[in-house]
Point group: C2
Chain length 194, copies 2
DNA sequence: GTCTATAGGCAGATAGAC
DNA sequence: GTCTATCTGCCTATAGAC
């Protein structure tokens, strides 16, 4: 059993790689970048993750798991449907705060160049988010707090795409307000009006 | 004066490079890719565009110019504000049809890795689109055909981001319907309701 | 304008010592 | 687990012939 600090070399690799992918994209970071930042050699990275493809898969798996937890936390909370959507949007706003994209939003841009297992994992991430969003929209429709103009699935697609795109466009400006304005527009467009 | 066919080597380079950037991203295409597809050598590309940075700038310049023309064409048309926004959304749907992203949407993902002149050009592209969109929204507000919940600028930000994101998320699925559903959701969320 | 040839660097990856 | 050393290949870019 290795020492606690060193056991988590894999986790620290994932931390650094995650940040680099979210800010630069999957094709614009290298094993050398990660190794230099952690003061280890590239060979160490290959020991923990045989190749870039496996590292990428591990990144998505961990990210998706964390996202799932966040969704369950929202579900466990008290708010109504609009409040849940606002909490969901806040997750996205938080990643923008340190100039990152959503991991899977970035990988969606790189999609055509990704190994197939990573492509499948990105799709699965979106599927899970869309299913959760559609559920919340449907609930809001029943409550009378939301009035989607199309199906809950269409509304979910508009929300997920809208938030990913709001990140994408706001990030070059380095302007959190732009994201907030866009997110607010998405949510109020869906809300039932007086 | 060279022959017409060959004069446009520069234009043909831009055509191929544009498609590659829109589908794979700026860091995932090479001079070799473009040269092979055109049956010329890499040196030929360097003659027309000294480096990747200059090629990138030329790509954005041409793309932005074409986009500007499309906006003026919409302005010259007959429709009211909602019809103009729908026409605007259709431009985005068309790029998805051959599995591309918007050029500047893709470059927004690559933003952190771009040379500064390209970054500035991407921002300028967004600025122009946002200004046009805000103008149309404002017009719709006066007409009574649109009822934005915030400022026209906020609505413009939500529209631009929403459409870019709808492309981003729909493209991995290869599903044009997903884009259309999201786009429709964005537009009806903004429309004045009965 | 387009070619051949090549420079110099960095990428992802592996073998084998410790 | 982490290292040193190295391989192979592709990248951007340049020089100079035609």
């Amino acid at each position: 059993m290795p020492k606690a600090r060193d056991t988590d070399t894999a986790a620290r690799i994932l931390d650094v790689a995650e940040r680099l992918v979210q800010s630069r994209g999957f094709n614009a970071f290298s094993y050398a970048d990660v190794a230099a930042e952690l003061n280890v050699t590239k060979a160490t990275l290959h020991y923990h993750f045989p190749g870039k493809a496996e590292l990428g898969e591990a990144l998505i798996a961990r990210y998706a798991q964390r996202f799932s937890q966040a969704l369950r936390a929202i579900d466990a909370g008290a708010g109504d449907a609009p409040a849940r959507l606002a909490a969901y949007a806040r997750i996205y706003g938080d990643v923008l705060r340190d100039r990152r994209m959503c991991l899977c939003g970035m990988l969606a841009a790189d999609y055509e160049t990704l190994p197939e297992p990573m492509q499948a994992a990105v799709i699965q991430f979106f599927d899970e988010n869309l299913a959760w969003l559609a559920g919340v929209v449907e609930e809001g429709e029943r409550e009378g707090t939301l009035r989607p103009n199309g199906s809950p699935e269409a509304a979910a697609q508009a929300l997920l795409g809208g938030l990913e795109g709001a990140l994408l466009v706001a990030r070059p400006y380095g302007d959190l307000n732009r994201f907030d304005a866009a997110a607010a527009g998405l949510l109020t467009g869906l809300a039932a009006r007086a």
